[in-house]
Amino acid sequence: ELVKKEELSNDEKIRYSRQMLMRNFDADCQLKLANSSVLIVGAGGLGSTAILYLGSAGFGRIGIVDDDVVEGTNLHRQVIHDETKIGMSKALSAQETIKRLNSKCECYVYKELLTRENAISIMKPYDIVIDATDNVCATYLINDACVLSKKVLIQASALRMEGQLSVFNYKNGPCYRCLNPVPPPAEAIGKCNVNGVLGVVPGIMGCFQALEAIKIAAGLEASYSQKLLIFDGEIGKIRIVKTRPKQENCSVCGKNPTVTSLIDYEDFCHMKKCEIKTDITSNN
């Protein structure tokens, strides 16, 4: 548990002064950040900006989960790493960057794959979870773990020049399964290492994830709960659409849930383990 601060230190008051000058974001908001924690799952394209801005905003604690290592082909979009980090754990590399950027932010790393076995315990010390992963199995796993352990989830994805984002399990809003009760057929799922991705597009989406996390932690209202932000960078179109509310018959957050503990997500998503593994290592 974070030790609850009653007051910002003088250093913090100076460091975050430009933020606290805002009419709608006062010292109390900044103090709430200092008493909040956020876990980012994935230190790849989405994670790069999400971690940079969450690490610098004034959160008391951030956590980074990634079992992958930095590769040269990552660097066109994973700008929290660099050429000197090739071969290094992405989680450690991101932690190093945050320690230089904001030495006062407690930054923990988990150099492992998030699994049904470890997800609940890794999430436990955090208030908010950011899904910055790149595959559908991880997304269902994180969603279910967030519902079971009552964490707000900020989910996003990016492919080619497109991105999608929504906030789940927030103030009685829907979860990812409410919107997506059945996973897509395996052959319908695009991947960055097959379909490609323009580097800055996950950067944009990761920034939006950080913004939502900051607002939620500071006690402002989330903007994209029961809403979906849909960005098409090719044509510059941005849709913010209303989605269905929490579904009574949702299998994990509904009235009579059938998913009461974490399940086998590779099986649920019709994916063989080897495919997932490939996807994560080359692409996270």
């Binding site: 994935g42 790849g44 394209g45 989405l46 994670g47 910055a132 992963t133 790149d134 595959n135 559908v136 997304t139 996003a156 994805s157 990016a158 492919l159 080619r160 497109e162 991105g163 999608q164 919107l179 997506n180 009760p181 059945v182 996973p183 897509p184 057929p185 052959e187 319908a188 799922i189 695009g190 991947k191 960055c192 379909n195 991705v197 996950p202 989406m205 979906l228 849909i230 098409d232 090719e234 044509i235 849709r239 659409v241 209303k242 989605t243 269905r244 692409n283 996270n284």
Partner: protein
């Protein structure tokens, strides 16, 4: 004659002639979303119907919007199409 706009994203446009937006005039027998999906499958889809439909509705993993609102709120397959409607099909993305 009911005229609607079809919009595509997330890769769905690849199945529909690589156009992200187009206007179409509907034949008289296409009155609701169920009819529209069948009509699109038979007349507009270029390839691989299994990436669009499953059991007379869209396959899992497609976000369907009626005038920029989740179709689940608007009545799903039973929604009655109106002149000027924008109907959007966007595949959920997985990547980061």
């Amino acid at each position: 004659m009911v005229k609607i706009t079809l919009a595509f994203g997330g890769g769905m446009e690849i199945l529909f002639n690589n156009t992200k937006e187009r206007e179409i005039e509907l034949p008289d027998n296409v009155v609701n979303m169920k009819d529209l999906i069948a009509y699109m499958k038979d007349n507009l889809l270029q390839e691989r119907p299994e990436l669009f439909v499953l059991n007379d509705t869209v396959r899992p993993g497609i976000i369907v919007l009626i005038n920029n609102c989740d179709w689940e709120i608007e009545g799903n397959l039973e929604y009655q199409l109106e002149n000027g409607d924008e109907i959007t099909f966007i595949s959920t993305l997985h990547g980061g």
